[in-house]
């Protein structure tokens, strides 16, 4: 077998493996990055985020208040569900985390589709008080 054919074969194998991996694990994130949100006097330190479609963001939430807070990332439907829900503690799903007073917690979220999302705290009265922000997902 000559060199050219051997090289092409190697490339083909590599591409096949990559295709299999991506199909098994879903979309490979364009990139990953960490964003730190600080909560002080029941206000997030950031009110708006711009992210790229396919990005996976790790949210690190630092609570500087003497009361509990949480971070819920999602569309309007997700936010409405949490505003009326009774789930006391979050952390099992991507983009949802409870942050006790004076603690730091993190959660990650992959932005698959372009559009407008929200991040907020839905403990009683917190959303109406102003604990909310927007996320623009750009393609």
């Amino acid at each position: 077998m000559n060199r050219g054919r051997a090289g092409a074969a190697v490339v083909g194998v590599v591409m096949a493996v990559a295709a299999l991996a991506s199909s098994a694990w879903g979309t490979i994130p364009l990139r990953t990055r960490t964003i730190t949100l600080t909560i002080h006097h029941s206000r997030f330190s950031i009110s708006h985020l711009d992210v790229q479609r396919g990005e996976r963001i790790r949210f690190v939430v630092r609570n500087d208040d003497p009361i509990d807070h949480e971070l819920i990332v999602g569309d309007v439907v997700v936010q409405a569900r949490h505003e009326t829900g009774r789930e006391a503690h979050h952390g099992a799903r991507d983009g949802e985390v409870s942050v006790p007073l004076f603690e730091t917690a993190s959660t990650a979220y992959t932005f698959d589709e372009p559009g407008e999302l929200w991040f907020a705290c839905h403990l009683p009265g917190h959303w109406r008080y102003g604990m909310q922000g927007t996320i623009a997902v750009r393609s």
Binding site: P66, G125, R128, M131
Partner: protein, 373 residues
Amino acid sequence: MRKMLCTAVVAFGLVAVPAMPALACGGLIGPNGAVNLTRTTTLAAHYKGIEHYVTAFTYAGGGGEFGSIVPLPGMPSKVERGGDWTLQRLQQETAPPQTAGVALAARAESDSSAEEVYKTKIDALDITVLKGGGKSVGIWASEHGFRLPPDTPEVLDFYAKRSPYFMAAVFDSAEAEERGQQIGDGTPIHVTIPLRSPWVPLRILALGKQAGERVEADVYLLTERIPNLLPSGALAGYRVERQVPASRQLLEDLRSDKGMGWLPASGMVLTHLEVGAAAPEMRYDLAINTNGGTPSRSRAGLPPLPTPPPPPPTVRPTVEPTPEPTAAATLGPQALPIEPAEPASVRWPIVATAALIPLAGIVTALWLKRRAA
């Protein structure tokens, strides 16, 4: 499991109940010893350097427990059950139309819970006086099952800058049921605080309220002299309904109530304030000065007035000298170059020379004449 407490009533008894008829004081007391008020009512009296703070915590009933956290202007020397009719008697004094005439830390923050400096039980109320900054009081509240509204961190910090003392009051629901307390029944509390300059927490009344809600309350002041108040004016969020000498009858009625014997029989001024403001506007407290001076802005939680800029330094006007014409022609062939300004410094040698020449001639002539003689 941690008990969940809701701060349903944060500062004072604020429950709408039917107005009671204007009966004798005894008729206004419930059979279980509870008081019923038409709306939030507080007495802040200041006499001989002591602030007496009388308010009522309202039982909200239900299966849960309800608590309140109240900021205190100073460390109390005593917390006891308030008189049975003091607050209603004051309401009666100012209720229209039968009114008789005329009528209260920034500290180093730690990561630990607030210090419990005083504990007592009054009827079904567990009272704890806390000392600490906003952070540590918040930790204590969390450890004791309080679910605090979102504006709590900012409000706690607002108060902790001026006083590290807070009072937590929690109804023991089992005890309340044993005592036959009904929903809406209030338990009056009398807090005695040695304090030179009194102030009354008002911003706390807005805690937990939504943007469209209002703060409505009655605040009664009893002071030895007419008090100056800050803030004041149309935008202060309250109206001075009356400010009159307290009648002897009023003082006699109040003195006869439990714990109120410290009141003198005469010589007090009654001020009735009707508090009414949108919750977001209630961002200050009431500072009081009874010595004829201006109340402290810091005690009212108001920012200091901006410092006026210093006046510009005084500058003496200067007279610009006009340029001199050249003097070279008067001095002969060796003319000096033309120089502007400072004519005096150039002029005097010329004048002196011009004066000396004839003088020398006169002296020479006299000498020759003498010699000839």
